[in-house]
Symmetry: C2
Amino acid sequence: MTREERREALVAAALVVVEREGLGGASARAIVAEAGMPLGALHYAFASLDHLLAATLDAVTDQERLAAEAPISAGVDAGLEATLAAGLDAYVSLLVARPARELAYLELMLHASRDRLDLPPAPGRYERSYGLVAALLEEAAAATGCTWTTPPPVLARHTVAMLDGITTTWLADHDDQAAHASARFLAASLAARSLKED
Amino acid sequence: MTREERREALVAAALVVVEREGLGGASARAIVAEAGMPLGALHYAFASLDHLLAATLDAVTDQERLAAEAPISAGVDAGLEATLAAGLDAYVSLLVARPARELAYLELMLHASRDRLDLPPAPGRYERSYGLVAALLEEAAAATGCTWTTPPPVLARHTVAMLDGITTTWLADHDDQAAHASARFLAASLAARSLKED
DNA sequence: GCACCAGTTGGACGAACGTCCAAGTAGGTG
DNA sequence: CACCTACTTGGACGTTCGTCCAACTGGTGC
């Protein structure tokens, strides 16, 4: 097993542990046990536990929880707002069905953000999310014959923010209906920044 | 010193520690040291460390980080959207100036939410935030001669969600301008749910 | 077949953790 | 003054933590 394979396996195991037991339970021993590795393997693949957790955050950011939005399957007949609402609703449904994963993501993200509170911005980290969502927004507009009056990258950041907020809020109150309502509010607010082409 | 005073002092100390060192650094010893108390005082006032952290979350929810929105000082001449934007921008400015406090709040909230992942909703916890924001929305509408076309409590939850998301997103990318842009996006989206009275 | 080396392992180590409790203290009562 | 109650304390306990390292493994080159 190469070192890179070992790193990937540890990252996958770390994500499972954080999802199941929370960041507080993500100890070196718990993670290597999940990966079926001896304890020493961690410091052979990573300099420290914190390095592993940072790599785990990068991995989960990459594989993109927002990929759930991907199915922009509705066509021209549905309209832009309905198309957006369907995608955003899909994310909420995923959140309700598997909240531990979103919780794990947020825990990892907040943990990493503490180390850089006084540091300059690190644009690279969320850039990929914004780009992916921006592409989805453009795709949805194209599929419904609309154009954006605000640049998609700007709208993408608003979208990511609102989805994060929908997540934390649902985690606090477990109100499924309200979360879906917030998703539709976002869909309508985004659609207000578009024009129907003729 | 009564037990209640002791509890309050410990809660205040816990918040300071979480803000300074993060949830991971909020150990029993660190908190009692911050409070200037002996170690045993914690289990005299609280059943466990987790009970103290839960009480800390309740306290910070109560004292309401959203109180920063309070200054709805703009008048009729400014219009509803501008009034909302001013209040929301004030929150973003507070976030940028003192991110550790918002980070502490989110860490405490996520920590508490993990224990109730499989539990039924706990409406009480965020209810107060929603109510407070709803009152602010009504106040802003009244001050600018507008009426809401969507019930303020519903809009309030969307607002709290978006503010949470603006917070997590800024913590990830430290993009001040983008955070303010999201605040203005929210202000415009809310204002779209209002009518100017005549 | 022997030496060697990169890779791998599990136990050892000191520190820090949450919790508990026996001893100590202060203040009011007989 | 003696006593008792209620409160307060700091140390002790067993566990778990992250990290490190000496021993072990299987391979390859001589």
